[in-house]
Symmetry: C2
Subunit: 157 residues, 2 copies
Amino acid sequence: MSTTPRERNARCSVARSLEILGEKWTLLVVREAFFGVTRFADFRARLGIAPDVLTARLETLVEGGVLERRPYRDAGQRQRDEYVLTEAGGQLKTVLAAFVEWGDEYRPSGFGPSVVYVEETTAEPVRLAFLTEDGRELQPDEVALVRGPGALGDAAA
Amino acid sequence: MSTTPRERNARCSVARSLEILGEKWTLLVVREAFFGVTRFADFRARLGIAPDVLTARLETLVEGGVLERRPYRDAGQRQRDEYVLTEAGGQLKTVLAAFVEWGDEYRPSGFGPSVVYVEETTAEPVRLAFLTEDGRELQPDEVALVRGPGALGDAAA
DNA sequence: GGTGCTAAGTTGTGAATCCCAACTCAGATG
DNA sequence: CATCTGAGTTGGGATTCACAACTTAGCACC
């Protein structure tokens, strides 16, 4: 009762993730980073994003520890920065994979999936699944979402 | 070269998912729906979201097939609509789980996880993992993200 | 040592979105 | 027919977004 929505959100992992990742374009920038795009002009060309917005997104991704700036130097050019995924950024693979699976299933494009996850060494297709600690696979409907220890009172419904 | 960013995005599952889910508040509304919240006033109270924005989000979630309106009737009250997850909405469990795991790992709140996924029957904790088709678990760095058959040319980088 | 080239941004303006508070609306009940 | 309640509208000011034009910093070449 005495907890505000704001306090509750501060303790919710989803909300905290979305603080960094939830703005328009952000996850698309991350997706392009996974495809190997690193430079401002390439992000811009591939996404069609306004340069000021791209600047802002790259900045929050760097501040949030998802990307890091790395200097590079093309022949005959001055030194500039490019943006590469950090360890934390690389772990967003599951987030993107979840969106890909959901989008392919429930928002089909009619052209087949545009993104696929495969095992790196064999190119075998891969899927996301819930596993118990002892390695059994669970179907999504066998999994319950519950408020954890960090949650504040106020049971829903 | 002849493909615009707009066309590429139309074929990207991530982008198509984000068309429905990518606006501010949307995934938080879905999270609350997973916790069992169904009514306008409860979404509003738990999230602190402006009523006009909530109206808009519920509308796009219904149109996108994530929620469905269901009439209910409290004693002494007139009939109203509540919002419940559809089958497609239920499948967003993996998306939320991915955000929860990433947020708990890389954006810790200091209070412990506020959301946890457990096996429904045993309350045993659960995690997300990549599986090959024959059931082997892969670490995220063994999984590659590649452009699939529905993607348009223009290799990145 | 000044000129041109290029990638990476800024700046400026208008449109769209968000936030907040106050108000409306529709029916069940007295 | 007056009241209560939950589910929205409506109006405004502030923020964010989009699009285009402009700026900037250094390397190369002369």
